[in-house]
Symmetry: C2
Subunit: 244 residues, 2 copies
DNA sequence: CGACAACTTGACGGGCGTCAACCGGAGTGG
DNA sequence: CCACTCCGGTTGACGCCCGTCAAGTTGTCG
């Protein structure tokens, strides 16, 4: 069990984006005990139905939350990136109701539940930050219900791209001018309720009308305003002080 | 500002289903100051973009959370019933990111944020209950993303019915043998990402194969096992001690 | 008994799924 | 250095599920 304060920086940064974090609270975060993990791509961090004594925090790389339907098809319900809390929820709901799987190689921290619990008890600011994070996640899920429920294929993908690049920007992983999309077109399909074939058609369409330019998975938004319009993207649901 | 302990019973019951509630905490709930409201059908309780000084609790009747897409179509992302907390979230996120609208006449309690805040500070059990409630709601949203993203029309509707009757049962509003569906077929469509016409076709289909029987909006599930199978419904995501 | 909302039913069309083939790049091994 | 493999991406043909449009029917409330 390590306690390398540097490693948890992305997590502390995330908390600081959520609330005004007193120095003592930040020190508390830095003092958390945890176990570092380097995991490959496509590895499960949380499995539906399982319990765990540790909470997982994503420090580097990308992951996604997903569930499988009875017939085996997969639905992704959010993407996780640097600093995101993977499964704080199991402090209150021990058995996981969905899967979390990496989509790239990733670095994670495993923090004992007891440690996090103690931290929230000591620092109301951290408790507030976790509250906000939970509520924001719920807000994002609601937007995703709207996205897959009521928008056509092109809009769904445009919306997903808008959200993704907005969140990447927040953690310094690019900007509309230049960002890397780590997921495959199949994963984009699983996130938007489409088939990989149709994702391909729509990406191509967005490229052809000139709103985005692609080189492999390196993207560039040529017309940010138009992409948002096509995707019916209004960033308020992210409740981000930056994206506003 | 009233303080009628009887009126908040449905709310206290809900909390008690979530955690083991000490007597002192229950007394704290009963002592909450609040304003009672009787509202008609189709009234907004929360409006996207607005703030409020009070938190709303639903005491009687039904409501739904929904968002509107740019082209004006509506997506419902959850139904609320007796005891449900309508907008605790605005304690941490002042401006609402979605709408809450009644779908029947309803009785609600408006509780000042400060009152609720104080209550959670005094009673950790209540704080824990609200945490669990928030996390469970998020879990339900995830299931809905899966529902509209990956299941066909018939399964979506079957799933929605399963969830609805399960939750109704929990609060004593019926059972699979006999329950009332307060929403119109258009609202069912808005919840499942379908058109009212197709909802009608699918309800008819479910009726014809004999899994449900309808008399107006009074439903009876004739084959509960089969309805769950058709809807790919596994209740774990509700994290209910009862429905397990 | 008129008005209106919700429900019902049928005909038709389109967006997206399905199937299938091919391409291109990265990794592997000879 | 090249052949082989594999995964992801690309493209086309075809068909179905569900949306759309439209016309009725039912039920409820004045």
């Amino acid at each position: 069990m390590l306690s390398d304060s540097e490693a948890l920086k992305p997590f502390a940064n995330k908390l600081r984006r959520l609330v005004d974090l007193p120095e003592a609270a930040e020190a508390g975060v830095q003092g958390l005990k945890f176990r570092l993990g380097n995991v490959g791509s496509s590895r499960y961090l949380v499995r539906e139905g399982q319990e765990s004594a540790d909470c997982c925090v994503l420090l580097e790389g990308f992951a996604c939350r997903h569930k499988l339907s009875g017939d085996g098809s997969r639905q992704i319900m959010s993407f996780l990136m640097k600093g995101d809390i993977v499964d704080f929820q199991q402090i209150f709901l021990p058995v996981a109701d969905h899967n979390v799987q990496t989509i790239t190689e990733a670095k994670v921290a495993w923090v004992p539940k007891t440690e996090l619990n103690e931290l929230t008890r000591q620092f109301p600011a951290i408790s507030a930050a976790l509250w906000k994070d939970c509520l924001i996640e719920a807000s994002v899920f609601r937007e995703w219900v709207l996205n897959v429920g009521r928008r056509d294929a092109r809009a769904r993908i445009a919306h997903m791209l808008c959200e993704f690049v907005t969140r990447c920007s927040e953690v310094g992983l690019g900007s509309p001018d230049q960002f890397h999309v780590p997921m495959t077109q199949e994963q984009i399909g699983d996130a938007t309720g489409l088939t990989p074939v149709h994702v391909n058609r729509m990406l191509r369409a967005l490229d052809e009308i000139g709103v985005i330019k692609r080189a492999g998975r390196d993207f560039r938004v040529s017309d940010w305003r138009l992409l948002q319009k096509i995707g019916d993207f209004r960033s308020e649901y992210l409740h981000s002080p930056i994206a506003a």
